[in-house]
Symmetry: C2
Subunit: 205 residues, 2 copies
């Protein structure tokens, strides 16, 4: 006659597992990470973890959703705080440069791995589609804001430029991942992209 445990408690457990998963995914990447790792990290039992997440894919997707929500907040906030949109773009490039320089304890490798390995699976494609759209919308919004403020007079439609930015950043991430940062001359490439963007956006000084 009594339901067992409060919803808060269950939510707490869920968050614990997600936290452990995040740590382990960052350490090992997607494919090499096993449920065993999460189990050990949480200190729970096998069955216990499976009570909350039915497999590795489920766990990863939940974790990614959580992480993306956080990233989204940061994006909006920084866009509001910085004086000009171009300053924000500049910041965005610098941030990416930093995070691609060292993948230790970063989730980026696991994320790339997850979607690359899963490209034949409809489920992941769909998820990635939603995720992508969100990023593109954010970038498009950013460019539109620059237009409204008279900072930019882009040579191409905002949504195309938004995709271009996303593509180039992911391209740099990809190359930084499986080569060394020096070898891909990341610093110089970011600089090259900044130059190219200045032209494409026709940034007004």
């Amino acid at each position: 006659m009594a339901p067992k445990v409060t919803e808060e408690h269950k939510e707490q457990r869920r968050l614990e597992i997600l936290k452990a998963a995040r740590k382990v995914f960052a350490e090992k990447g997607y494919e090499p990470m096993t449920m065993q790792d999460v189990i050990e990290e949480t200190g729970m039992s096998r069955g216990g973890v499976y009570l909350y997440f039915s497999n590795k894919e489920d766990l990863f997707m939940s974790m990614l959703e959580q992480k993306d929500d956080e990233g989204w907040d940061t994006f909006r906030q920084e866009l509001e705080e910085l004086p000009t949109v171009w300053a924000f773009v500049d910041q965005l490039l610098a941030d990416n440069e930093d995070s691609f320089n060292d993948f230790t304890d970063s989730l980026i490798p696991a994320i790339i791995e997850f979607f690359v390995a899963g490209w034949r699976e409809e489920k992941r494609m769909e998820r990635q589609g939603v995720r992508y759209q969100r990023i593109i919308d954010a970038m498009t919004h950013m460019i539109e804001l620059g237009k409204e403020r008279g900072e930019f007079r882009p040579l191409l439609p905002s949504d195309v430029l938004a995709r271009h930015i996303s593509t180039v950043l992911d391209g740099i991430a990809l190359h930084s991942l499986y080569l060394k940062a020096e070898r891909v001359m990341m610093k110089e490439q970011i600089e090259a992209f900044r130059l190219s963007l200045k032209h494409l956006l026709q940034v007004q000084e």
Copy 2:
């Protein structure tokens, strides 16, 4: 008192296996493909295949080397044949657009998968380093040729631009892989990149 079989015969066998591997890697991608698949495709026995290649990684690397050699020949040849260097760049973009549009029976997914999944392994990093350098050298050569001929007056050093081109093309490949081509607006993105390149290279009309 007698060595067994001619070297040519062994080489033939090796090529047979490589051919089968290429087909199967293109069909299934790197990770899902098993040695069993190659064995079935060749019609040989398990032990027979292992006599030539000691594991999947070895097999893939050999196959990739073979493929890259072919690609290299094509690159040099087309660069010589086309009237201007810019025409060659244009062709390069068009070719990439085509190949990213449909990954059916393409090795591209397997290649991306292979290097992404193996980024922690020194051996693969090294291999990819050599591979990358070759691509960058080719691109650098191409840009230098354009400079010599007075077609380009690049805003940045050739080796930086070479890396930028490689990065952007791989970025587009990556996005085309785990999203749909329409969603990433590939055609438009290639067009955007063409515009950006025209500026960065300062193509003289």
